[in-house]
Symmetry: C2
Subunit: 550 residues, 2 copies
């Protein structure tokens, strides 16, 4: 099996040094596109739509506009060979024949919103540069967070079809609309603007994106259709029109005009800061003394707390931040750790809420029991987060299959990489047998059940840039477990009640059988009339009925 | 539960534009450190050692040097407060008291090799810049591939302890040794050199790295000890000395002097190229005609193949690469797809081999049946890869627990994120019941069994930068499944044979019981001597014995 051994090409440090070079972030993600969610044609289609929808919803909410979105997947035929054609004999073959497969898989994805639009100067970088955005440095709940997604979708389109991203944007009725065609320079991670002119657009404000890519459209669990349906469950304020590749239009109207509670940006909490970060903050700050620094750069540090920390650390309150030495910084950190500081504010979060979680489940799943739990906010590495759980049980759900888990992070449905996800892990780890539900070792519970979990946070720690699964931070798993336990206990009460009801029903029907005989026996013994006998039977039946209800 | 609704801070495109900005790759990974394997103190320790060991092994093998490594985890006490001390009353508390927890968790990690060393000019970037390396653009099997790992480990040390990375390196007996102290500028992703002088080092050639970090040392499945043990299983040429935080020294001697087959760099295969990449290659090439381009830039494209492709595409063979239009490029790609091209060469791979996989399993696992399979090389997205499977079964392995899965990628053990891994998925998906092994729905098989899977490739598609799990490419899962089936059939034969043996043994002991009686009966009927009777009994027993062996 082994190949014949070739002579070793012995290398040394000098020859090895020649190979060393810088890798641009766009080269890195071109090769590692699966990290961004582009590892299969089906997924590429979904990821592109997901990134665009995330951005549209974030922008609309931030601008206080009830979102109205259009999502369209249009089959696309490659532009046919132009003037600059070679005059070979094989020419007739071009544009048909082997082009078939590529034609079938080629789509133009269109996402249009009624959001605030994007100012002209920002358009090229937002769509033509990876790692560019506004949400990375801001501590509040949003769908997007890293400034990669939409430019990566454009890059994928460019890689697979050579087509640029087309963007229409207008920021208001008195402003001109713009139309851009943008490519991403794969070596430099910089936008190349092919066109960027004013244009006529009937919309007063909004953004429209067109990305041409090769992908594959399928129905089922991982489909765009499924994603959009789940999105409308978690975002009842969204009005969505969806046109699939067959041209069929689906409408998901908004069920409320009210936007979700607006999350407010917070400052980092002292408990989440680390030595290296603290050192950098001290370097960068505009504050001219350590007291001002602590109060300005962190949340929940007032005059008293600050004094406690600095006394504990042995640092004079007027010391200039840049005069702190390594050892001082360590002391400051140690002092923070032993000082009682209030938990971070939670108005940076916007959970769905118990009622809407339940309503969402009811609209999407036919069952005969529903429950939901919204946990109070908790903190991991200084980041506030909040867990919500919903359970649907029984009804028409199949009883002999593994339970279904619906995962959401900041209102975005997660469809892929279930088994890598902290949410999945927490459902696996809950002791379902305690709640009357079957479960084999190492598997999901087997029951007619759907479990919904939503994590809302200022920073969701995803296991990869494609944002498909939540990382296994112990604090997060713990909160999920607590929420599942709370919901599980409610479920148990329901299951027990059902069992008791079934039992009582059995007993009742047993007694019911004898009531007429009792009536006849009484008639015989007491010599009462037929009418009286019927009355006795009715009374007994009635008593039985009432006792059951108690 | 809902917080009182605050007034909306309505934003528009202009105010939103102000928040937009570039995110450096080091800022990105500081916040997303779990993507690099630094999401918990236990894992941080392991990841740091893993990245350094990977680099050492790659360098030694590339230079043709049998690797001798030292790995040491030394408890580290923070440098005590220097001269620049504040004179607060609380001073006595510093350096003890609340410092306790940080002391326990602080380690100096030392990894020293006898490799070729690193030339002076390259040291700062290799250790102080993310996305810098030699392996990213090279198509051959190596442990490292992205140029992130070791600088990320240094960055983590810096973040948690403020300490720089210390590097000793020497490239030969006639060269001076160098000692560097390096930090990573978190905002710019550039190295900051704190020291970089010549020094005295007794080693003729090699590299030594010291990283101080906070971490947590634990034994068990995810431990450094376990990782090093698995590493020595997959790398029998490695001589390793390991000193744990208690100062206990373990030795893993090499079991062979021979280095693994040297993998050779290949060019990309035409089947793996995409429109966008092809367009860029045409732009960048030094070839002045398309024929030269195809033959120089790809593997397996000879004169005949090239002619076939170009004829099919309708492109004149002397056309300048940069004169191809979008439509030509699409035609070229379509032509490649319908042209028969030989599979890429596989000397870019260096599998462990069936014998060594089996030997490795035997050295690490006590069982009574072992088998191994090395599949022929296959290709995903133009990248050659090869799957190897080993199974150990029975013996002292626990029969009522889920089977253990040992995962390797390019000879590196993967300890975390099992459930996210394509390897795990392929083991879950194999029909173990067909091979006589129990398996519940959705779970690993329940059996006294260890399954080892190794993927060797020029580019392992990991699910995250921390390289803990293999992405679910269908071609890869398919190869794993085929390898598991082949090994599974061998296992089945063993299990069946065992069952037959057990059965035969039962029958034999049954017959054995009657042999003396047959002897006696014959003696009575034929009137033979006692000696003859004994002879008959012996012959019958012997026959029985022989029939069983058949």
């Amino acid at each position: 099996m082994a190949a014949p051994q070739k002579k070793r090409t012995t290398k040394n440090a000098q020859s090895m040094a020649k190979g060393q070079r810088e890798i641009s972030i766009s080269e890195f993600f071109t090769k590692n596109r699966h990290l961004l969610g582009f590892d299969s044609p089906v997924k590429a289609l979904l990821t592109t739509i997901k990134e665009a929808v995330d951005n549209s919803l974030d922008a609309c909410e931030e601008a206080g506009i009830p979102p109205r979105l259009l999502v369209e997947i249009r089959p696309d035929v490659p532009v046919n060979l132009g003037i600059e054609l070679s005059s070979q004999e094989s020419k007739p073959k071009n544009g048909n024949g082997n082009g078939k497969s590529s034609k079938e898989d080629r789509f133009k994805i269109i996402i249009e919103d009624n959001g605030p639009g994007i100012v002209k100067a920002q358009i090229p970088k937002i769509f033509g540069k990876l790692l560019y955005g506004s949400k990375f440095h801001s501590l509040k709940q949003s769908r997007g967070q890293q400034g990669i997604g939409i430019s990566a979708a454009g890059m994928y389109g460019q890689l697979t079809t050579g087509q640029p991203v087309v963007i229409y944007s207008r920021t208001g009725a008195n402003e001109p609309a713009h139309r851009f065609k943008i490519k991403l320079d794969l070596k430099k991670n910089e936008p190349t603007i092919l066109e960027g002119d004013e244009t006529i657009w009937e919309k007063e404000h909004g953004t429209r994106i067109e990305i041409t890519l090769t992908g594959s459209y399928k129905r089922g669990q991982h489909s765009v259709d499924n994603y959009l349906e789940h999105t409308s469950i978690a975002n009842p304020h969204l009005h969505l029109t969806y046109i699939n590749p067959k041209g069929e239009e689906s409408l998901y109207p908004n069920s409320t005009q009210e936007l979700p509670t607006e999350p407010h940006e917070i400052k980092p909490h002292p408990y989440g800061v680390e030595l290296g970060i603290l050192a950098r903050m001290l370097e960068d700050t505009k504050s001219r003394n350590i007291t001002g620094f602590m109060k300005d750069e962190f949340c929940r540090v007032g005059a008293k707390t600050c004094e406690n920390i600095l006394t504990e650390a042995g640092i004079p309150p007027r010391r200039h931040p840049r005069r702190l030495q390594q050892a001082d910084i360590q002391n400051l950190l140690d002092a923070i750790a032993v000082t009682k500081i209030a938990a971070p504010p939670t108005d940076c979060l916007s959970p769905i809420g118990e009622e809407l979680v339940m309503a969402g489940l009811k609209s999407g799943v036919e069952a005969d029991f529903y429950t939901s739990v919204t946990r109070p906010a908790a903190v991991y590495r200084g980041n506030p987060f909040q867990i919500e759980v919903g359970i649907a049980f029984g009804g028409k759900l199949p009883g002999d299959e593994l339970a279904k888990v619906m995962r959401f992070a900041n209102r975005v449905p997660l469809l892929y990489q279930a088994s890598a996800c902290g949410i999945h892990k927490s459902v696996l780890g809950a002791s379902w047998r305690n709640y009357g539900v079957q479960q084999s070792k190492g598997a999901l519970p087997t029951a007619p059940m759907v479990v919904l979990i939503h994590m809302a946070s200022v920073w969701v720690p995803f296991t990869s840039e494609s944002k498909e699964a939540v990382a296994h931070y112990p604090e997060i798993i713990k909160e999920m477990t607590l929420a599942l336990q709370e919901a599980g206990r409610k479920l148990k009460r329901h299951i027990n009640k059902r069992a008791r009801e079934k039992d009582a029903l059995k007993k009742q029907s047993y007694i019911q059988k004898y009531i007429p005989h009792i009536g006849e026996a009484l008639q015989e013994i007491l010599g009462i009339e037929d009418a009286e006998r019927e009355e006795v039977i009715a009374t007994l039946t009635d008593t039985l009925e009432r006792s059951r209800k108690l």
